[in-house]
Amino acid sequence: MLAKRIIPCLDVKDGRVVKGINFLNLVDAGDPVEVASIYSGENADEIVFLDITASVEKRSTILNVVKKTAEQVFIPLTVGGGIRSIEDIRLLLKSGADKVSLNTAAVENKNLIEEASEQFGSQCIVVAIDAKRRHKGTEAQRKNLEWEVYIYGGRKPVGLDVIEWAEEVVRMGAGEILLTSMDADGTKDGYDIELTRAVSEAVNIPVIASGGAGTPEHLCLALTEGKADAVLAASIFHYDEYSIKETKKYLKERGIAVRI
């Protein structure tokens, strides 16, 4: 049976992991290769590097990080953040990334998904969608649920409906959707289950739920009620609050197929 995937995400800035990585037995908490390697040893199913390097000149550092990681970590690696062109994608894949995650550039340059999936195959083109609820309000009002797509790291709304955009990226050749709820992100109160389910039911490609994970139960809900194919989490793993191993054990006990 196809296992549900548990994916830790690392924010990488200028070639170093940022945001509290707090493992025991870690020689250098800022080394992305070392952290990725530890996660792989704990049976993480994939690794995501989110490159938040500010300056364009330092972009090449992520390629070195990817190269070094690919020499030591033998599970799939996705890289997102600041990818603008076919050439950016080519360089990342050549360095050893298995997938790239497109966000702002996919919205601003609609040909990019199509060109990229044609050249490199849909399997390596992940489209990241940052979604924010348009209307909160009462249960009755929420019958017309709507989420809007944001770009530039959640700073700019683009007037696109999330479900419609998700369907469009599938038509253009995306192989997977990385769906982040901006409302839930950082809260540790759990994923936006309604959003996750709505997108997962609308498309026939895998959906990775992201934003809001605080406990293994949250991951469980996203995978069951949210119908997600995979869950992405950052802080709950980084701070050693829950290890990937014990999270997977928890999920397995609840009847979810996971790779132990």
Binding site: M1, S40, N43, E71, F74, I75, G96, D98, Q123, E176
Partner: protein, 211 residues
Amino acid sequence: MHWRERLIAIVDYGLGNLRSVSKSVEKLDAKAEVTDNPKRIEKADGIILPGVGAFHIGMQNLKRLNLLPVLHEAISKGTPFLGICLGFQILFTQSEEHGICSGMNIIKGKVKRFTHELKIPHMGWNQVRQTIDHRPRTTDLFDGVSDNSYFYFVHSYYAEPEDRNVIIAETEYGHEFTSAINKDNVWGVQFHPEKSGDIGLKVLRNFLSLC
């Protein structure tokens, strides 16, 4: 000569995750050479045909680089050969991806698209059931690998061999499909051993030890 001394050619035909494959072979201390040079492939003690992407483009590239004759010859003279993902599918007679496209016809059979309601691509970790009951030779590739171990898959098409005797492992996604084959000196796996952690490296090591 120990297998670590032998030359493993990783065929570069412009498609795929060559770096992942070469790094995993190097991790096992074997000598990997990524090449599209027919002379180097001819000399190799073992050949790996990796690949992700579209079947017809893979075949086009192999033809354009004039690699098909040397691959056929190496296989017929007994050089151990491992096809991975698209490199596994290309071993078959034909694929229905992008119309009907002919493959290498080393293994008789067809490559078909998943038509069930499940999500496509079949992406992620799935269990590989070894069909070893009547073919003990399959222990070659899966030596030391527990039955139903998880391996990493990414594909939208699956291969269906005419002769079920070549099947050494099956996996369930909507229905059972062939996830590994062996015929004489030719092995093929639909999953990515180079992306399947320690268990994947074990499969690669088993192949290398046959070279």
